[in-house]
Amino acid sequence: MIKQKIVLRFPPHLVENPVIYHLIKDYDLMVNILRADINPKKEGRLMMELSGDELNYQRALEWLQEQGLRIMGLEQQIIWRSDRCTHCGACTVICPTEALAFNRPEMTVSFDEYKCVVCELCLRACPARAMETLVDNANSK
């Protein structure tokens, strides 16, 4: 058994393909969609947790790549720009998963990208705008 959180990036011409259907039907995977959106350039982004047989999982990833989709780890989606962070801590009560946490007694902010679920609430809640996304998403400004 394997359980992984991944992000699929769809080029515009693949946005309308029923990818999830194939993951379930052809590869017997369990799919838990965390988030999906399409940006103004018609590029799609699908964040999900996949679980199932390891061999099936690997074959599914190969198939996805053959289709022309980009596969990324969920932890690569949000960037904490430590040079812009003033360590106030305003983000830490907005972050729902404690990926952004306040360390005591240092009184500094830290970011654990593996706990991040890419809700993107921090992007606008940070007054110094120290949080960034990799790409232009439909929900980020």
């Binding site: 003033t86 360590h87 106030c88 801590g89 305003a90 983000c91 830490t92 009560v93 907005i94 306040f102 005591r104 240092e106 009184m107 500094t108 606008r124 809640a125 007054p127 110094a128 705008r129 400004k141």
Partner: protein, 406 residues
């Protein structure tokens, strides 16, 4: 007083590299161990610091004359309007000014991604600033339009002048309402989902000199990474705010107006901020050295977070509509622990002011004094304190047509 020390004596020690300096955080345990009198005999200066959003900040600029000369009327710096209602090429750029055509809150909550504070940060960082300006033209100032760019080093003066900084205490903001609100105290979740505060507490300058016995006009300070001065008392200065036993106020109290040459400051300590749904502002780093003139001043500098209390205020109705009073008084040690209890409910806390930044400022100032590059100044006049009997006023809301009332 058993200990007596003058500013001149302190400066002589600074110049000989022998001054004993501690931060307001370090000094707490020393006073606890040895007592105020003994510590005062040993320590010359205590340094403080704070690094929080301070809206009442801005910069006076003199950009020099083009050829032919111009009397600036409407001026935009990186699209952000600057006030030109003073002499020909003098300007004032405020930290909260928004670019011409900014959508503000038309799509609520607005982003306020760039404003006056960001222009100031860019200026200090040495970036090129675009200036678009117009004028009506006069015989002495014929030029009517300029579209150019300049860097900080290319203009005559840039004087940071902040009418209100370094608030001695501030509200802890919560939201008692049924929907998320977007305030200058940050995003506040429904039903007291979070409590936001903004003070360095025990490191904050005015908590360490609560009755303004040493800080006055002309006090030399750390300002924006460089050297600045206390210019005056700040706007909304309220030395009459109710005090606790240790003389620290339990609500927003004294404030400072600060001044300094922007050209020797650092962008790190003057940061443009974007408050979702509220506006743009600037985070200002400042710190004040407190001369230990006697054991009484020493005792004030030893104040700790446990003994400084801030009022919890509802920003859904309470603050905007001046309804109801404070919901609770909480200590800065509770606020800094990450959770407070308000009306029996556990509420997670977050700060808008950077304590790590405040700490760094206090240490930097300490290092400056120890190395002899920063000496203290005696104030040329003290600021209004309790005796002044200041009472904060609200704006009169008269009906201009109602002659009877007047």
């Amino acid at each position: 007083m058993k200990v007596k020390r003058s500013i001149d004596e302190i400066n002589a020690k600074i110049k000989s590299g022998k001054a004993v300096v501690y931060t307001a955080e370090e000094i707490i345990d020393m006073v606890d161990e040895k007592g105020a009198e003994k510590t005062a005999a040993e320590v010359d200066v205590v340094t403080t610091g704070t690094f929080g959003p301070m809206c009442s900040s801005g910069v006076f600029l003199n950009v020099g004359h083009p050829t032919p000369r111009i009397k600036l009327n409407e001026v935009y710096l990186n699209s952000v309007p600057a006030y030109a209602g003073i002499a020909a090429v003098d300007l004032y750029l405020g930290a909260t000014a928004l670019p011409h055509g900014d959508p503000a809150n038309r799509n609520h909550p607005g982003d306020f991604i760039y404003g006056g504070g960001h222009v100031i940060e860019d200026l200090v960082a040495g970036k090129e600033i675009r200036m678009e300006a117009s004028a009506y033209g006069t015989d002495c100032y014929p030029m009517k339009k300029v579209d150019t760019s300049f860097r900080l080093s290319e203009i005559n003066e840039a004087t940071l002048y902040n009418p209100r900084n370094a608030y001695q205490n501030y509200n802890v903001a919560v939201n008692l309402g049924p929907k998320t609100i977007y305030t200058y105290m940050g995003v506040l979740k429904t039903n007291m989902g979070n409590a936001n505060y903004s003070s360095a507490g025990q490191l904050s300058p005015l908590f360490n000199d609560p009755l303004l016995k040493t800080i006055g006009i002309g006090t030399r300070i750390f300002l924006g990474g460089g050297i600045g001065y206390v210019a005056w008392h700040g706007t909304q200065h309220n030395p009459s705010a109710k005090k606790a036993e240790n003389d620290t106020p339990v609500s927003p109290g004294a404030t400072l107006a600060l001044i300094g040459d922007l050209k020797q400051m650092e962008a790190r300590w003057l940061r443009g901020l974007s408050f979702l749904g509220y506006g743009a502002t600037m985070q200002v780093g400042m710190g004040v050295p407190i001369p230990i003139l006697n054991e009484e001043i020493m005792r004030y500098c030893a104040v700790r977070d446990e003994d400084i209390k801030a009022p919890v205020v509802d920003y859904y109705r309470g603050y905007p509509y001046k309804e109801g009073g404070e919901l609770a008084l909480v200590s800065y040690s509770d606020l800094k622990s990450g959770s407070i209890t308000v009306k029996g409910q556990q509420v997670p806390t977050a700060s808008l002011s950077s304590y790590a930044g405040a700490r760094e400022i206090a240490f930097t100032l300490k290092e400056w004094i120890e190395s002899g590059r920063f000496t203290l100044t005696a104030p040329s006049a003290l600021l209004p304190s309790v005796e002044a009997g200041i009472k904060l006023k609200a704006l009169p809301q008269r009906d201009p047509d109602d002659k009877e009332v007047r």
